[in-house]
């Protein structure tokens, strides 16, 4: 027993010498390290158990929420349905999210919410979609001028991934494939009201690369086609496109580079690239002249989901002949709010971001920003619920249509409702309606 006491005494270290003393010192250091580690391990959860009160402006989750593999205990009070008043929002203190070791969150009363400008927000964009990532970055930079601090999260924005994001509080906003969202009607039915769109954004070009022997996209039915990485925005848009066209290829999911390698090796009969405008691997592909872009002819079934796009040799010199033009489609993206059901406090928080986006939109039209911002009509509607605050802002800015404009729109709606798309005669009817409105004056 005496020996043990002496060994645990730091003073003896300087008295004893030799090999035995060095071994004893090393042992004591090891014990101390283990002890400290054990103390740390034990203290962290105990301290959390002993601190049931969330930080100011935060409330505990009532269900397990993970971010980047770590469990998040608290969140801003904006997510709680109890705090909706603007005063509460304005009076709250700015507090970052606390990420603590995994212990069960204990319910507590909702604390005041953070101000939208003070609390950092996040924009989810698909990591495989370079266009969406760029738009998200420019969005964050534009809103920074109003004092809103944001960050871009590289993740997944397919409908299945967004369904999880809505329920797991992964981000505040997302840049999502609008065609896939609208196309996945049944799959999104139970959460679409919680993910309203703020504005339709520009479209990303869909390119179908195939051997020159493939001249019609319908020839791809039953053949292996690369759609992109599984559960990503691009693959979701490609799947929606084939679904709309009524063509059922055998889907293959792989990154663009390996899909093009498979195409070259004959293992795939076509590769669909969405938003690959700046892709170097696609720009360099097809120099041997064996491949080309397959046209996607416009049809009424594509209306409301896609926009027609025409590509020339300037866009794809390796895949389009010098005098050729290839008609294809653009898959629209949209800025959507996540987990922002109508009348929720989260919707109020996102409303401030939407207002800042709308009122500072001209900042995004500069020459250094993506050209697709210049194609955005903030008032353009989609077959998807819109964030109430965004719609209210638009309604305040846009005057109610006069009778002749309303008649033109009603005539267009009647033509759109016709089975099989508009008739040739609708062209002149709609033209006359437009002329009447145009000549009627303001």
């Amino acid at each position: 027993m005496k020996t043990r006491v002496r060994r645990s005494s730091c003073g003896r270290r300087f008295v004893l010498g030799g090999e035995a003393d060095r071994r004893g010192t090393a042992r004591r250091a090891g014990c101390a390290a283990l002890g400290l580690a054990a103390l740390t391990l034990i203290w962290a959860p105990l301290s959390a158990f002993g601190d049931p009160t969330p930080p100011p402006g935060m409330v505990p989750y009532d269900h397990p929420v993970f971010q980047d593999g770590r469990r998040v205990l608290w969140h801003g009070a904006w997510r709680s349905g109890d705090e909706k008043s603007g005063d509460a929002l304005a009076s709250a203190a700015a507090t970052p999210l606390k990420i603590a070791p995994g212990v069960a969150a204990k319910p507590a009363a909702a604390a005041p919410a953070t101000t939208p400008a003070a609390r950092e927000y996040s924009v989810l964009a698909d990591a495989e979609d370079s266009c969406a990532m760029r738009l998200a970055g420019e969005f964050v930079a534009a809103l920074q001028a109003d004092g809103a601090k944001g960050r871009v999260i590289a993740g997944r924005t397919s409908p299945t991934a967004l369904a999880k994001a809505v329920k797991s509080d992964a981000a505040d906003l997302a840049i999502a494939p609008m065609d896939a969202l609208i196309g996945a009607d049944e799959a999104t039915a139970d959460w679409r009201d919680r993910a309203p769109y703020i504005a339709r954004l520009g479209a990303e070009t869909i390119e179908v690369v195939a051997p020159r022997a493939v001249v019609d996209i319908r020839e791809l039915a039953g053949r292996p086609v690369g759609l992109g990485v599984a559960d990503r925005a691009g693959a979701a848009s490609a799947a929606t496109l084939f679904s709309r066209l009524g063509v059922a290829p055998v889907p293959s999911f792989a990154p663009l580079a390996s899909a093009l390698a498979d195409l070259t090796a004959g293992r795939l009969d076509a590769v669909v690239a969405v938003g690959a405008k700046s892709s170097k691997v696609l720009a360099d592909f097809g120099a041997d002249g064996r491949f080309h872009l397959v046209a996607i002819p416009w049809s009424p079934a594509l209306r409301s989901l896609y926009a027609p796009v025409r590509l020339t040799a300037n866009d794809r010199p390796n895949l389009i002949g010098a005098d050729e033009k290839v008609d294809t489609l653009g898959a629209p993206r949209a800025l959507i709010a996540l987990d922002a059901a109508p009348s929720s406090a989260r919707a109020d928080h996102v409303a401030a971001l939407a207002k800042s986006f709308f009122e500072g939109f001209d900042r995004l039209l500069g020459p250094d920003n993506d050209a697709s911002w210049r194609d955005v009509n903030l008032a353009a509607a989609a077959s998807w619920p819109r964030l109430r605050a965004a719609q209210d802002w638009i309604d305040r800015k846009v005057a109610a249509p006069n009778a002749s404009l309303a008649a033109f729109r009603a005539a267009a709606a009647a033509a759109a409702a016709a089975n099989g798309g508009p008739e040739a005669a609708d062209a002149d009817r709609l033209y006359d309606a437009l002329m009447q409105w145009r000549d009627a004056g303001p």
Binding site: G102, N377, A412, Y431, L434
Partner: protein, 188 residues
């Protein structure tokens, strides 16, 4: 330290480590391991049209039906609201039904506020020889038209609008003359 204390400490530490391992275990999205396409079958959705406010909906419906019924009925419906206009054959050229459908699709996109889509469709119709599509293309770029139709954020292009109007006028669409004059007046 007694053996009992050692055993208790060991068990307690193991429990703590197991708890922490459980808490920090990386969360793996099920979608990563079970990818599946987002859409299984076609779903058809009709384009949304902005709601009409502060107007006589019944009258508008009658006018829309009149447009579909033909020029004579349209004149009658319009005249009831003092909105008579001379239906003109100017710019009507012999173009294929496919081209006319493209123009109709372009006009429908224009009515829905999808100006980018409208421009692309109308350009295709214009390339196929539809002179009226040229005039509507000019409208789709005309800043005054965009403002009156409620576009927000989207900037027009007066120069491109003027170019399309000029081409429409050269193709026989007389209405383009007034548009060109109006553009000039705005710039002055």
């Amino acid at each position: 330290m007694s053996i009992v204390l050692k055993v208790v400490a060991g068990v307690f530490s193991s429990v703590v480590v197991a708890l922490l391992a459980f808490a920090f275990w990386p969360h793996i999205e099920p979608a990563v391991v079970s990818p599946r396409p987002a859409v299984a079958q076609p779903v058809f959705v009709t384009a949304a049209i902005a709601p009409v406010a502060a107007t006589d909906k019944a009258a508008i419906d009658r006018l829309a039906l009149a447009f579909r019924a033909g020029p004579q009925a349209t004149d009658a419906a319009a005249s009831t609201r003092g909105l008579a206009w001379p239906p003109s054959d100017a710019g009507k050229t012999a173009v294929s039904d496919e081209t006319l459908r493209l123009r109709a699709e372009g006009l429908m996109a224009l009515a829905g506020g999808d100006f980018t889509g409208a421009r692309a469709l109308l350009e295709r119709a214009a390339e196929a020889g539809d002179a009226r599509a040229l005039l509507v293309l000019g409208d789709a770029y005309d800043p005054a038209t965009l403002a009156r139709m409620g576009a927000l954020g989207l900037k027009g292009d007066a120069q491109r609008a003027r170019d399309y109007y000029a081409r429409a006028l050269a193709a026989g669409v007389e209405a383009a003359r007034q548009r060109i004059a109006a553009l000039g007046a705005q710039q002055d």
